[in-house]
């Protein structure tokens, strides 16, 4: 049987990798992909906690899985909006590299 800790460590590692992607990448597309990784890390933690801790504490009856459904919903909406903004950015500036989008920088 896999302990809960292993799933939590998997989630932590995935979150760290996604965080590195957000910090280190230049292309806005890759940054959005890294954000998706971080959201998935959170989902793994939520679902692991829901499965192992069912019936203990205030959150019972697999509420973690339902919160994970909402996270997936918001992530889907976020991807659609993010790529619409990236598309508009590309049309206006001809690049999707975030360090070249410096119109508001002074």
């Amino acid at each position: 049987m896999v302990p809960l800790l292993y799933f939590q460590l998997l989630g932590a590692a995935l979150f760290g990798i996604g965080f590195y992607g957000v910090l280190a990448r230049r292309s806005a597309v890759l940054i959005v992909l890294s954000i998706e990784l971080m959201l998935n890390a959170v989902n793994i933690n939520l679902i692991a906690a829901a499965s192992y801790l069912n019936g203990t504490g205030r959150f019972a009856a697999f509420d973690g899985q339902i919160i994970a459904i909402f996270v997936i919903t918001v992530a889907a909406a976020e991807v659609g909006l993010a790529f619409a903004i990236i598309l508009r950015m590309y049309r206006n500036r001809g690049t999707v590299n975030v360090d070249e989008i410096n119109l508001l920088k002074w």
Binding site: L5, F15, V29, I47, A48, I66, F70, Y90
Partner: protein
């Protein structure tokens, strides 16, 4: 047995994630993301969350990856393979590693849970979604609607030169 499956799933998930942040090709990054998301779906299966695994494959594996590939195609990001990382990547690596270590240590030091994973009764999950979580559910549907309309308005082509906002006849 379960541990071996977990190791395989973890290798898929983390390997795909490292591929996303390490590859120089944007299309490869999108495909690595698909690998990582399918690995996460496997982790959900190991946790007896079949519904979530299904949703993960449908929404992430299907919709999100397609949207990403469309965005890559429309922005020609793949034509910019030169430098994909910015100058602060060593600092980012240090920060991300520190964050992962802190998170891992927090989980490590938490009191041990000896419970076994349980599978939810599917009807209970649905009933909870439509009773206890009914308001968040409705708000989520509104969020999706707003995001949909917003994405269309942001991304559509306008005749900017003439200052026209009407798009009739363009569709």
């Amino acid at each position: 047995m379960a541990l071996a499956l977990f190791v395989i799933v973890a290798i898929f998930t983390l390997g795909g994630a490292v591929g996303v942040v390490a590859t120089r090709n944007v299309v490869h990054a999108a495909l690595f993301l698909l690998l990582s998301l399918l690995g996460a779906a496997g982790a959900y299966l190991l946790l007896f969350a079949e519904f979530l695994a299904l949703v993960q494959v449908l929404i992430y594996g299907g919709a999100v990856t397609i949207v990403v590939l469309f965005a890559v195609m429309l922005t020609r990001s793949s034509e910019y393979p030169r430098i994909t990382d910015n100058k602060q990547w060593p600092l980012g690596l240090i920060t991300a590693t520190a964050l992962a270590v802190v998170l891992g240590a927090a989980f490590w030091l938490a009191p041990d849970v000896v419970a076994e994973p349980q599978a939810p009764v599917f009807t209970e999950l649905g009933a909870s979604l439509f009773t206890k979580w009914a308001l968040p559910f409705e708000i989520a549907s509104l969020v999706l609607l707003v995001a949909l309309i917003g994405a269309i308005i942001i991304a559509r082509t306008q005749n900017v030169a003439q200052g026209e906002t009407s798009t009739e006849g363009e569709g």
